[in-house]
Structures are given as structure tokens and as C-alpha cells.
């Protein structure tokens, strides 16, 4: 079990004062105490203390354990790519997650005091603490799926984006077969070159009706081209309800507005471009004499904004930290809120009477009085974050696992998950132990201070 809360001793109560031990009763008392302590001592000795010693020794031996290798495992730890990524990610975790949880918890706890439904709010925020990190991991992995039809986060982003941005995208478009159009890597172009001063039409199919903008009008044939111009029409070569002739601009066929049309010179450079109007017509002007290919670049047919690849290497650690905050902000809120309720209100009232505003009351009076609780929460979260395992094991898909790695997961992978190197695994476990040492020392200090009061 990990430490859940940094301990603070209670006031040293009665125990010390009673029954001054003298003479023969000392031995008897010792035996009684031993009787009460024996089961705990056996468990702690055999299953906690002995393993610590074993792991320290084991960390100086080779993968199989047969050979003494000195500090080699510790050197490997900082030079091996995957272990080093793990250590680096742990640093990121420690810098971000405890502070974020503590600050959020503090904000919630302070705001809570102003609402009538505080208990309900506390329950909602605190509830994730009760469920397993595995379940939380399954939840977040689902929420951050890339497909905006499935993952709620990308669905929200795409909705917001399409509400504000203009998408003139026609995903799935293709040129009508047999009408002199070719398609290559998303680009739709004329099969042969066209002399400037002539016309090139693009009858397209395969476009979903809902991606045709409302502004689109009946397709119109282009006006005759003058010298130095290339003209034409881009339209959806389908009559709704059937009918019409392929490649002909019939009544009921819609022009496709907003499509970029490039005139590509013989050397492959784009000589000039134009955009289609509501009737699907374009006019490329200012061309030198010569032959061009007319092309509709791939950007016209992109899917458009599809959200963010949350579960990719770039964002994965951020997503996992978010899931951690979802779970642990409640812990910090509950701790801080109970700390707040223990503060003497008269100080704050007095400051308000003296004309202090809420911000000053908070920074000058509330926060300093809360600082012991804030430290306990912060230290507890640091210890907890250092050992983070489940979320990092569960959330990333295989491809993003290396980028999301942390020490506890690396320790598991190296010793049990196929790495088969229990020497390096032991060294990683000892690294974790060393990393929590400062907080152990803080715990002992606090305990001693409380005793001496």
C-alpha cells in the first residue's frame, strides 16, 4: 500500500504516564506488548523489511542474478533510452500533477463555501477516488479516442471548430470516369494539357450532399475564355432524384463553390490559381501562351479538421495527467475543505470589517493558516505521483506506450513484462525508494515535532 496521507501525530496522550515500569513487571509488560505486536512484526519483517534489503543487494547483480555487476544497473538506468524517458516523464509528472491537483482542490474548497449544494458538489468531485485507476483508464482512453465520431473530446472540438471555421472541404470527391480527368494522391487534374484561352470542366462525383455548402447554386457553364485565361466549371455531376447526362451541366446539378483550381505549367510549377464561385465557375487569368494542366489540389478534398490525436506520443502524457487530476483533485479538495472549516472565522471577519477585500483576506489570512494542510496534500500527492502505474499502463495504445513510460511501469516491464532483467528492475525499485526518502524524512520530523509539543 502506498502512503495515503502524510502522518501527523496526535497530541501525545496518556500512554506515557501510566504504570511506571519497575522490577519484575517490566519483563511481563514486554511479553504482553510483544504478544500484541507479534503478527504485525512478522508481516512487516518478512514481507517488507527483508524484501527491501534483498532488492538493494539484488540491484548490484546481473539480469539473471548470477554475477556481481557493481553500479552497472544504475548506469544503464540513466543511459538506456526507455528508462531515461521514464525518469524524464516522472519529473514532468511531479512538476505538474501535484501542483495542479492542489491548486484545483484549493479553488474548489474555497468556492464551495459560497454554495448551498456543497455536499453534492463534494460527492461528485470526490467520487473518482473510489473507483479503480483501471476503470478511470478505460474511461479516459475512450474519451480521447481520435475518431471524432467516437471520442467525446474530439467530437466537442470538431463541433466547436465547424461552428466557427468555414470548411469548404469536399471529402471523398472523385472525377467522373471517362471524361478526361485523372486522380493522383488526392489531386484531381485534367488528363492532358490544355492551351491557355480554352475551357476545362470538372464533373465530380462521390461528394456527400451534406458537405455541399448552402451557398452553392445551379452550375453554370463558364463564359468564353479570352487570351491568357483558363476557364471552366466544377460541379457535382449528379441530379438529385436521378436523370441528367454524365459530364453535361444539366438542370439540377450544383456548382461547387470555394474550390481552388491551379494551372500547372509544363515544369510542374503553379502558374496561377483561382477559386470557384457559387455556380462552380472559375477563371484563371494572366497566363502566358502555352499548355497547362488544370488541377484541383488535394486540400479541396481533405476531411477537414478532425480533432487532435490525443493518444499519440505527443499528447499522451498530458492526457494521462488529466485523468490523474480527475481522480485526485477530489482528495485535495476534501482535505483542504476540512482544513478551511477548522480555521477560526473571526480573523477573516475582522479583516473584512477593516475593509480588506476578498483577495487580501485569502492571501493574507486564509492561505497562511491553511499552509500546513496544503503541505500535507502536496507531499502526499508527490509520493503518490512518483509511483504512478495503473493509468500509464492502461491508457496509452501500444504505439504511444514508449513515450508515456514512467519508472513504475518501466520497473514492471523490465522485471515481469518480458524484459527479464531483475537486476535493472531492482535498481529502478531502489530509485523509487530513494525518490520518496525526502518525504519520509519530512514525515519523521513532523512526528517528532508533534511529540515534543
Amino acid at each position: 500500500m502506498t502512503q495515503l496521507v502524510a502522518p501527523v501525530a496526535n497530541s501525545p496522550a496518556g500512554g506515557d504516564k501510566r504504570r511506571p515500569p519497575h522490577g519484575s513487571s517490566r519483563r511481563r509488560m514486554f511479553m504482553i506488548a510483544l504478544g500484541f505486536l507479534a503478527p504485525a512484526l512478522v508481516f512487516l519483517g518478512a514481507l517488507v523489511l527483508y524484501p527491501i534489503v534483498y532488492t538493494v543487494v539484488r540491484s548490484f547483480f546481473s539480469a539473471g542474478g548470477g554475477e556481481f555487476v557493481g553500479w552497472d544497473n544504475y548506469v544503464t538506468m540513466f543511459t538506456n533510452d526507455s528508462t531515461f524517458t521514464a525518469i524524464r516523464n516522472n519529473v514532468l509528472w511531479v512538476l505538474v500533477a501535484p501542483a495542479a491537483c492542489t491548486i484545483l482542490g484549493l479553488i474548489f474548497a474555497v468556492l464551495l463555501e459560497k454554495i448551498k449544494w456543497a455536499t453534492a458538489f463534494k460527492l461528485i468531485i470526490f467520487m473518482p477516488m473510489a473507483i479503480s485507476m483501471l476503470a478511470a483508464g478505460v474511461i479516459f482512453r475512450g474519451m480521447f479516442q481520435e475518431n471524432p465520431n467516437l471520442g467525446v473530446v474530439n467530437a466537442a472540438l470538431v463541433t466547436v471548430n465547424s461552428a466557427f471555421g468555414q470548411d469548404a472541404a469536399y471529402p471523398g470527391a472523385a472525377g467522373r470516369d471517362g471524361l478526361g480527368l485523372v486522380q493522383d494522391r488526392g489531386v484531381i487534374a485534367s488528363e492532358s494539357t490544355v492551351e491557355s484561352g480554352s475551357e476545362q470542366n470538372f464533373p465530380l462525383v462521390g461528394i456527400r450532399v451534406d458537405s455541399v455548402p448552402a451557398a452553392a447554386a445551379q452550375a453554370e457553364p463558364a463564359v468564353n475564355a479570352r487570351a491568357g485565361q483558363l476557364v471552366g466549371t466544377v460541379w457535382l455531376d449528379v441530379v438529385r432524384g436521378g436523370g441528367g447526362t454524365s459530364g453535361q451541366i444539366d438542370d439540377g446539378k450544383t456548382g461547387l463553390p470555394g474550390i481552388l483550381v491551379d494551372a500547372v505549367a509544363a515544369d510542374g510549377t503553379i502558374a496561377a490559381s483561382a477559386t470557384t464561385d457559387a455556380a462552380g465557375r472559375y477563371v484563371i487569368d494572366g497566363l502566358a501562351e502555352g499548355a497547362y494542366r488544370v488541377a484541383l489540389p488535394a486540400a479541396n478534398f481533405d476531411e477537414g479538421y478532425q480533432g487532435v490525436s490525443w493518444l499519440s506520443s505527443t499528447f499522451i502524457t498530458g492526457v494521462i495527467i488529466l485523468s490523474y487530476i480527475w481522480i485526485w483533485a477530489g482528495f485535495s479538495m476534501v482535505m483542504i475543505s476540512s482544513g478551511l472549516s477548522a480555521i477560526d472565522r473571526s480573523l477573516q471577519e475582522a479583516a473584512r470589517m477593516d475593509g480588506a477585500n476578498e483577495w487580501n483576506v485569502f492571501t493574507r489570512i486564509t492561505a497562511p493558516l491553511l499552509s500546513p494542510v496544503l503541505i500535507v496534500v502536496f507531499v502526499t500527492l508527490i509520493i503518490n505521483v512518483l509511483k504512478i502505474f495503473d493509468l500509464v499502463y492502461v491508457i496509452p495504445p501500444g504505439s504511444a506506450k514508449p513515450a508515456a513510460n514512467v519508472i513504475a511501469v518501466e520497473m514492471w516491464t523490465v522485471s515481469f513484462g518480458g524484459g527479464n532483467n531483475q537486476g535493472l528492475g531492482s535498481a529502478l525499485a531502489i530509485l523509487l525508494l530513494i525518490l520518496v526518502l525526502p518525504s519520509m524524512i519530512i514525515n519523521i520530523r513532523r512526528f517528532r515535532e508533534e511529540r515534543q509539543q
Binding site: P39, L44, K114, I125, D390, V394
Partner: protein
């Protein structure tokens, strides 16, 4: 005198106006936060009530427009899936004995630390406090080897032993702090009546320490129920608890969202019931370390 009253009256009026807008905004903000916090769990729950086909093509939020897609099929399938029901049973077989033993052993030791005098008591207590923060990783490799040698590796028992050992420091520390708050006069009175330490423990400390023991029990139960790492290493396919059984489904996420979502929700049901029924005690266990 009257001047002062007027000034005060003005202040309160101004404060009231400020407070009204402030409260409206705070309420709005916190409602927003609460919804935000609920979305993940609600999403999982709704997902667990949809068919594989629906889950593969549309998001769970579409149920708000087409509620007809809701079905309990996933749960029916889950309950006839012996791997899952078996692991549910294993979870109980791990969590219940662990909780009982941690409470019993922790209470015995907690009493000794709180009310008995013996040489080295303070040093031993410091050892317990140090062990509070020890990461379980330091014991995984040696205990896998030790349990292997004892022939219990892969069994429910090995997980129970592991959880007891690493649950004890917190249990001892928590119960010691609670037991120390029992009034000394009560113990003195019992002692004058000739009660032995055992009788004092059973008849005075345990009844008075009820809330503390409940807090610890709930905390330990949830902890053990939700553990994945220890079980991942120390159990096999026959003894694995729910968390391990569900994570093994993760490899093909999407194709088996039906098992994953309903399984994950099944694993949450017991902790959620325990949490909502006894959340006072759970919170108390969290607070116990820091505040009285």
C-alpha cells in the same frame, strides 16, 4: 453612534449586491465543473448500455437523440462470461480477507503503540512511519521469488499476504492515533477492576474505536479491490481479480468495448456502493493522518 450604524448598513448593502453576483457566478462555474467531472463516468455507463455495433460507429452521446439503442445485453453477456464472473469472485476472495486481517493485526499493534510501554517503542513507531511511504516496487521481485519457493505464487493467498504487509503501516498508524484519543480514565478504571490488557482491548478499545476501525476497513477494502499492479504480477488466469481480467481485454480496444465498458462498470459498482454508503468514514480515514 448613529453614524456608525449607517456606515455599517451601507457596507452590508454593497456587500449583498456583490455577494449576489458573486454567488451567481460561483454557482454557474461550479455547476459547469460538476458536469465536467461527471461526463467521464456517465459516458462509460452509457457506453456499457450500447451494442458493439453502435459503439463502433457512433459516440455514446447519440443516446440523447436516439434512446432506443440502450440495451442491457452487455451485462447479460458479462454475467454469462465465466472468466469475468470468476474474477469477480476472486476480487471478493482477495479484498475481504485482506481487510479483516489488516484491521485485526493493525488494531492489536495500534493498541500496543498507543497504550503499552515497552523498550524501543518510539523507535519502532518511527520504523512504521518510514514504511508508510515505501513503494511496493521494492518488494515485488523478492516476494515473487519467495512466494514461488513457498509454492503459493499465482494464488489468491499470495496477493492477500502482499496487501496485508503493505497495508499494515497505515493501519497501525491510523489506529494508534485514534486509540490514543480514548480517555485514559476509562482504561485506568478497567485496570483497577482487574481487567487484563486483552480484556481492555476487546471490551474498551475496540467498541470505542468503532468509527476508526470502520474508516480503516473501508479504506483498505477499496484499496485492495481497486489494486491492479500486485494482482497483475502475483495471480494467474484462474486467480486474477476483475482489474486484471479487464485490462487483458484492453489490447484490442474498440473491438471489445462492450466487455470493457460493462466490465469496468461492474468493477466500479461495489466501490461506488461502499463509497456512497460509508463516504463519511472514507473521508475520515483520509483526514485521520493530518487532522484530528
Amino acid at each position: 453612534m448613529s453614524d456608525l450604524t449607517i456606515v455599517r448598513g451601507k457596507q452590508t448593502a454593497a456587500q449583498k449586491i456583490l455577494a449576489f453576483f458573486g454567488k451567481g457566478f460561483v454557482n454557474f462555474l461550479l455547476v459547469f465543473v460538476a458536469i465536467f467531472w461527471l461526463v467521464p463516468s456517465v459516458g462509460l455507463f452509457i457506453s456499457s448500455l450500447r451494442t458493439v455495433g453502435d459503439s463502433a460507429s457512433t459516440g455514446w452521446w447519440t443516446v440523447f437523440t436516439t434512446p432506443a439503442q440502450l440495451t442491457v445485453d452487455n451485462y447479460v453477456n458479462l454475467l454469462s462470461n465465466t472468466a469475468i464472473t470468476g474474477s469477480f469472485w476472486n476480487t471478493i476472495m482477495i479484498a475481504v480477507p485482506t481487510t479483516v486481517l489488516v484491521v485485526v493485526i493493525g488494531a492489536l499493534a495500534g493498541y500496543a503503540f498507543a497504550w503499552l510501554q515497552f523498550p524501543g517503542r518510539d523507535w519502532l513507531l518511527i520504523v512504521v512511519i518510514v514504511l508508510l511511504a515505501v513503494p511496493i516496487q521494492v518488494a515485488l521481485i523478492p516476494l515473487a521469488r519467495m512466494f514461488g519457493a513457498l509454492g503459493i505464487f499465482g494464488s489468491v493467498l499470495s496477493v492477500i499476504l502482499f496487501h496485508i504487509a503493505f497495508g499494515l503501516p497505515f493501519a497501525i498508524f491510523l489506529l494508534r492515533n485514534f486509540f490514543m484519543q480514548v480517555p485514559a480514565e476509562l482504561l485506568e478504571a478497567a485496570r483497577i477492576d482487574g481487567a487484563s490488557d486483552w480484556r481492555i482491548f476487546v471490551q474498551v478499545i475496540l467498541p470505542l474505536g468503532g468509527p476508526a476501525i470502520a474508516s480503516l476497513a473501508i479504506f483498505q477494502f477499496l484499496w485492495t479491490w481497486n489494486d491492479m499492479l500486485v494482482a497483475l504480477i502475483f495471480t494467474n488466469s484462474g486467480s486474477q481479480p476483475l482489474t486484471v481480467a479487464i485490462q487483458s481485454q484492453l489490447r484490442q480496444f474498440g473491438s471489445n468495448i462492450d466487455v470493457l465498458s460493462s466490465g469496468a462498470f461492474l468493477s466500479m459498482i461495489v466501490p461506488l456502493i461502499v463509497f456512497f454508503a460509508f463516504q463519511r468514514y472514507f473521508v475520515q480515514a483520509l483526514l485521520a493522518g493530518s487532522q484530528k
